[in-house]
């Protein structure tokens, strides 16, 4: 894995009030930026402060629990319980937490795939939760999602060409058959797929290739914001790094922002500029990557970090000694 300092993309310089609240360790952020690859950073990060592309305030998603003959609501599962965060232009926010903590629900609720119970989601100032049909359709062009399960996220009865071109057709971006095909092939090629794969069905591809197809579909409309819902957890390790590098390259190329959901600390460390730690439907800690990884404040974050297996035996011994 590359040194994390080599790829500082968008140092979130604190200028907005929210930023002041959430980031307490600016000096480190600056230090890491000075030391490293500002050259890699996308244009958005060059500015002193890039505006937030997505703001989430007090988002709640509660599911009713029904029981008894009358199916009365006897309780609520608070999958997401009052979450505030924001994602800046060109930045990757990592969302990490144990399974069942509401990461995935949060990701879906942000895109309004699950109706939230309360709260506010603003995309470039537009309230997503109150947007009407036409406005929502327009906004959907700029937000996409990449799924965890590459097999299930592609319709088994559709050819790759129609899967990847569907967003273009639905939004009327492009209706000419030859042009569509050309665009789809270019997209797939960019995602590392051969051009001649368009006439095949999803089951003819491996997991990694399917994920590349899923990414190509998400990119079709050149979105500005993508929710990556554990995009690599169903893949084996060698393919994982390829997909992660592809996502990172694409981010640089298209200047997108990611909300990157994962339970894998190594993946989060590799991908994210800032990290939010979730537990029981709430964000318990949020901050720049360096601070979260090196100086976790909350016990849960510390526990999460210490659960990461260490490959180096000397490191491992050191950690065991410090824990004892």
């Amino acid at each position: 894995m590359t040194d994390p300092k080599d790829r500082e993309k968008s140092p979130p310089e604190a200028h907005t009030p929210q930023e002041e609240r959430s980031i307490a360790h600016r000096p480190e952020e600056k230090a890491s930026r000075e030391s490293g690859g500002a050259a890699l950073a996308p244009p958005a990060a060059e500015e002193k402060s890039s505006p937030p592309i997505l703001e989430v305030n007090g988002l709640k998603v509660h599911f009713p629990v029904r029981s008894g003959v009358l199916q009365r609501v006897t309780g609520w599962v608070k999958a997401v319980d009052g979450v505030d965060f924001h994602v800046r232009e060109g930045e990757t926010l990592g969302l990490v937490g144990e399974s069942g903590c509401g990461k995935t629900t949060l990701g879906r609720a942000v895109l309004r795939l699950i109706p939230p119970t309360a709260g506010e989601v603003r995309y470039r100032g537009n309230n997503l939760l109150t947007a009407g049909g036409a406005e929502m359709k327009r906004l959907r062009q700029e937000m996409q999602i990449i799924f965890q399960d590459p097999a299930g996220s592609l319709n088994p009865r559709m050819r790759i060409a129609s899967i990847v071109s569907e967003p273009l057709r639905v939004h009327g971006v492009c209706n000419d058959k030859d042009e569509l095909r050309e665009r789809v092939q270019t997209l797939l090629e960019r995602c590392g797929m051969p051009r001649n794969c368009v006439d095949r069905y999803p089951h003819e591809f491996s997991g990694g290739q399917r994920q590349r197809i899923g990414i190509a579909r998400a990119l079709a409309l050149s979105p500005k914001f993508i929710v990556c819902d554990e995009p690599t957890s169903a893949l084996d390790v060698s393919v994982q790094s390829q997909i992660l590098n592809l996502l990172r390259d694409l981010q640089g190329e298209f200047g997108m922002s990611y909300l990157f959901i994962s339970h894998d600390m190594a993946v989060i460390q590799h991908m994210c500029d800032r990290i939010a730690v979730m537990l029981g439907g709430k964000i318990v800690e949020e901050g720049p990557r360096e601070r979260i990884l090196q100086e976790p404040q909350k016990d849960y974050t510390k526990a999460l970090l210490s659960a990461v297996p260490v490959a180096d035996p000397r490191e491992r011994r050191k950690r065991a000694a410090s824990a004892a």
């Binding site: 895109l111 959907r140 999602i145 592609l154 319709n155 088994p156 009865r157 559709m158 639905v170 579909r217």
Partner: protein, 384 residues
């Protein structure tokens, strides 16, 4: 004794197994999902033969090809009543009727040839060559049972297929709406299905048939118009079709609802929503193609059910009305002719046999299809 046999066999089995000998080879003929099981293949062949013969002969048996003559399905030859199949043994009575029928045929022919011909006494050879040869015998009015079985098969299979199409149409739409929208709408819609399930369908069909008949008579009395024979048959068949189709979509609706419930949680449906695919496109482009498997399977299993229901109703006398034959009313007619003195067995045996074989074949094909579309069978999936 049984224990002895078992004890004898057990060691041999044990001796074979460790050697890694393959177990019994499953009855599979090819990788094509339609032709995977032997029963399915046999079923398809038998079904194909019977249904093609019945349906393609319909224009002729129902007399559409030559409208001026009596349609073959009810062409009578009164002298030739109750003749057994020509290849079976004839008792004295039957032999006598056979000769009578032959004489009558010759007499008709000479009459046609020209009036004023002298009375003609045919020789025995002439009589033999003119004797009617019914493959499956004839009935009480001297109608050819083979032709009636063909026509009846066409009517039965045609109604079965039509009823299945109706049930697929209603069931798929109903089930997909209930499953996709879920919640209270789903609950209400499925309770309606439960209620309809609870009603005895025979009662429904009888009520419907009686009501339609009464309405037709009233309409005729009010307007003073007479319905032609063909129109009456049409109304009769249509009523039956609506009745059978109207009760057999319930299972379809439940199956489709279940499928949609699980499909709509699939990530690719979520992806479609994230893209902003409109509702109708979600349904037609994403849901329906994935429902095709179960739809085909349940349609093939609905056809025999519908045929059986039609036959049952016709057997009871509230279905297809004679003289239009269906396998059901042919069986009913055959049963009435069954007695110990003169067992006219062919009248009962052949329609029942045809009905039974067809239903069995359809069920085999349906089962074969269900197996072929089972997602747990990898090879079947690969070929779709």
């Amino acid at each position: 004794m049984l224990a002895g046999v078992m004890a004898e066999r057990a060691p041999t089995k044990r001796a074979i197994d460790p050697a890694g000998a393959p177990g019994p080879v499953p009855a599979r003929l090819s990788d094509n999902p339609l032709t995977r099981s032997a029963a399915g293949v046999v079923g398809m062949v038998v079904l194909g033969l019977i249904s093609l013969a019945c349906i393609f002969s319909l224009p002729w048996t129902l007399g559409w090809t030559s409208p001026s003559e009596t349609p073959p399905y009810r062409a009578q030859e009164l002298e030739a009543q109750y003749l057994p199949p020509f290849w079976s043994s004839h008792d004295a009575d039957a032999r006598e009727r056979l000769l009578e029928a032959a004489a009558a045929r010759i007499a008709r022919e000479t009459e046609d040839a020209g009036p004023g011909g002298a009375p003609f006494e045919p020789s025995e050879e002439e009589l033999h060559s003119a004797a009617p040869r019914y493959i499956l015998g004839s009935d009480n009015l001297g109608r050819d049972l083979f032709v009636r079985c063909l026509a009846g098969g066409g009517v039965s299979i045609g109604m079965g297929v039509a009823a299945a199409i109706i049930s697929v149409f209603i069931g798929t739409i109903y089930g997909a709406i209930a499953g996709y929208f879920g919640g209270r709408l789903d609950a209400v819609m499925m309770r309606i299905v439960d209620i309809l399930y609870g009603l005895p369908y025979i009662l429904l069909v009888v009520l419907l048939a009686v009501a339609v008949d009464a309405l037709m008579l009233e309409w005729m009395a009010r307007t003073g118009r007479e319905l032609s024979e063909g129109q009456r048959i049409f109304v009769n068949v249509l009523t039956l079709l609506v009745a059978i189709g109207g009760v057999s979509w319930l299972t379809m609706a439940r199956v489709i609802r279940g499928q949609v419930l699980s499909l709509k949680e699939q990530p690719f449906m979520e992806a479609a929503r994230a893209i902003g695919v409109p509702l109708h496109a979600q349904f037609f482009r994403h849901l329906l193609p994935n429902l095709l498997g179960p739809i085909i399977v349940y349609a093939t299993l609905t056809i025999p059910q519908a045929i059986l229901q039609e036959s049952f109703l016709s057997f009871l006398g509230i279905g297809v009305r004679p003289p239009l034959p269906s396998w059901g009313n042919l069986v009913a007619g055959g049963l009435a002719e069954l007695n110990t003195v003169k067992p006219r067995w062919w009248l009962l045996l052949f329609p029942s046999l045809l009905l039974g074989v067809t239903l069995l074949a359809l069920n085999f094909v349906g089962e074969g299809l269900r197996e072929a579309f089972d997602p747990k069978r990898g090879a079947a999936r690969r070929s779709t």
